[in-house]
Subunit: 414 residues, 2 copies
Amino acid sequence: MSAKAEIITIGDEILYGQTLDTNSHWISGELDQLGIKVIRKTTIPDLENHILAAFAEAETRADIILITGGLGPTNDDLTKPCLAKYFGVELEMNEEALTELTELYARSGWELSELNRGQAIQPVGAAKITNELGTAPGIWLEQNDTIFISMPGVPFEMKGIMEKEVLPKLKARFVTGNIHHRILKTGGIAESTLAEKLESWEANLPSHMKLAYLPSLAQVKLRLTAIGEDLKQLEIDADEQIQKCIPLIQKYIYATENISLEERVGQLLREQGKTISCAESCTGGYLSHLFTTIPGSSDYFQGSYVAYSYEIKEKALKVDHKLLTEKGAVSEEVVIQMARNIRKVFNTDIGVSLSGIAGPGGATPDKPVGTIWIAYSDANNTFAKKFIFAKDRKLNIQLSAIVALNIVRRNLMP
Amino acid sequence: MSAKAEIITIGDEILYGQTLDTNSHWISGELDQLGIKVIRKTTIPDLENHILAAFAEAETRADIILITGGLGPTNDDLTKPCLAKYFGVELEMNEEALTELTELYARSGWELSELNRGQAIQPVGAAKITNELGTAPGIWLEQNDTIFISMPGVPFEMKGIMEKEVLPKLKARFVTGNIHHRILKTGGIAESTLAEKLESWEANLPSHMKLAYLPSLAQVKLRLTAIGEDLKQLEIDADEQIQKCIPLIQKYIYATENISLEERVGQLLREQGKTISCAESCTGGYLSHLFTTIPGSSDYFQGSYVAYSYEIKEKALKVDHKLLTEKGAVSEEVVIQMARNIRKVFNTDIGVSLSGIAGPGGATPDKPVGTIWIAYSDANNTFAKKFIFAKDRKLNIQLSAIVALNIVRRNLMP
């Protein structure tokens, strides 16, 4: 029987649609990896009666209650007074928390006001959880076999506390035996097609293993989880299954660890000492943006031209005027010239180009919205592919860029 | 006393961290605009006992219960059977829904299977809500002064149903009198500074008006809401207050309607018949991406160079070799040359350039991570500004691009 958890999010700003709650999504994913089941998420306002009622309800159902928000120093931050009331204890100054807070302020050169000192106050009997990234420490309280964990609502502070303190403690307490995960990241294949290819392999997995499909835009992450006593044996078992799985979907797998496609393409370029440049039309800079979100990408990404007009395609990218007018900017011939020429301009090993109708305007009878040409060019190999994506402009931009990354990846992997 | 609503999200995929729930965020914002208070959001698994318990709890608190998810045609979609059980009624075929479904399938050329026919089944006594964008109609049921509204979990289907059917019905029923909103969108000012400048104006608002601060990255949306009987009078009252407010924060306001900064900059460029191009270094294409997310942006956005290397800055952007080596790429002199030269290359009215240390690498003692230079150049005016943003790479990229957009906006507005 796995442990059950609930997540309580406290804050008017989430109920009124001002702030999107991403915390509970992240927490759920982390707990799922430990085999801890989240059975309910609740968002409630900054009101004492609502908070106390939610605590009481959750305690009847869950072993672990994770609370975010309402830990700040102002009057509408009610989590600590409510926890004290619910546990029937007073609030007191936690000297250790105060010392940490004083040091943090001293380092930053700020003054510790009376209001800020209040952040070190905690319910009697609570364990402080160090918050290395902010001023509000977390709180750990237990009664009747239920653990209450209160954390700040600021996402990076919450994540810091979870990774450093909470997840290791929960793992030690609730994960009997061991848990071992293996990741396969795939691109260029739909979830349903992937599921078909893996159907019989998945059906034959040993009972201590399960597979999760985690889809995102034009990508699917596969997570194989093995639960048991002996970690070494779990690693061997998982490896055996992964070795059986890989040949079934080999060409779609871009990584066997939890990294993004743009990160993987960056690794491959760096390993092979290759450089890349892009000529973007319909994607308007988004592919370059994906490359350059990766730290250190300047080692292989040289730059790009975003050529939105015919004029710039001719002038900067030296696309033939005749080709442009005869075939149109969204054509095999033009993207191929764009990919070849950007390689020359930037003197890179690889050139990638994209041109298409992102929409909503610009469609013609034979080129509907979503028609995108993508070309790839290196010293040995130049080709273009046509895709028909979606009706939505933003979706077309994102899909085009991800599919282009996957084309580059396929050409860099054996 | 305003109406109270709760949102129930049904689905294992949300509890296990596979899918981020954006539906309840959007619904909250829409209800808030109508003055309907969301008092709780709950996410529960695809399990009958959890669903029935959540219905019963919510009914004790709310006038309106909005349910998303679990309306599909497969066995793990339990919302309809649970609603029928909760209301003590049978499920029956809704002939009108079946006709709509049959027509939808005929139009798309698909075959209507027995499984799909099931999507027209509803609890006896329920009103069907037409879903123009998908195959699962919504359901409207009432008992004991509480309304249960069930909608599919697919975001664009849910939004279609809400906008076309649910919100107008809720407005007619719960919004006594009228509600009138005015929007001011601001850039280049922190929420706290804005609040200081507006403090006395806000304190003197008439009692039937309230102001909401809705912050996002480097921007704050202000929403003034007036509630009363006479819509014409509300418009006059709101206008009077807006006219008092505007001079207090004039230069930060970029729009008086709900549009994005990139959309506003696009409008200004189009109105003034001006064109723009960008030379991006640290932002790696993200500013171009923001420009080109707007449909029709090819009217004014000509293109950009993403120049990541010194070599390309020299070769394509003709930045002086001496300047680059003496001052470094992240310097006032270099961004100014970049902005001037991109204007010439693309023959545009305006050139914008950015160069900085996005991080985590690349910092020097006098140029810490987050140091970003932004330059603007047009026929009359060329200047550069230095900013120190954050420690995080993605945040630096986003902030730089938004601040650059705001600089362009300030130069296009009187």
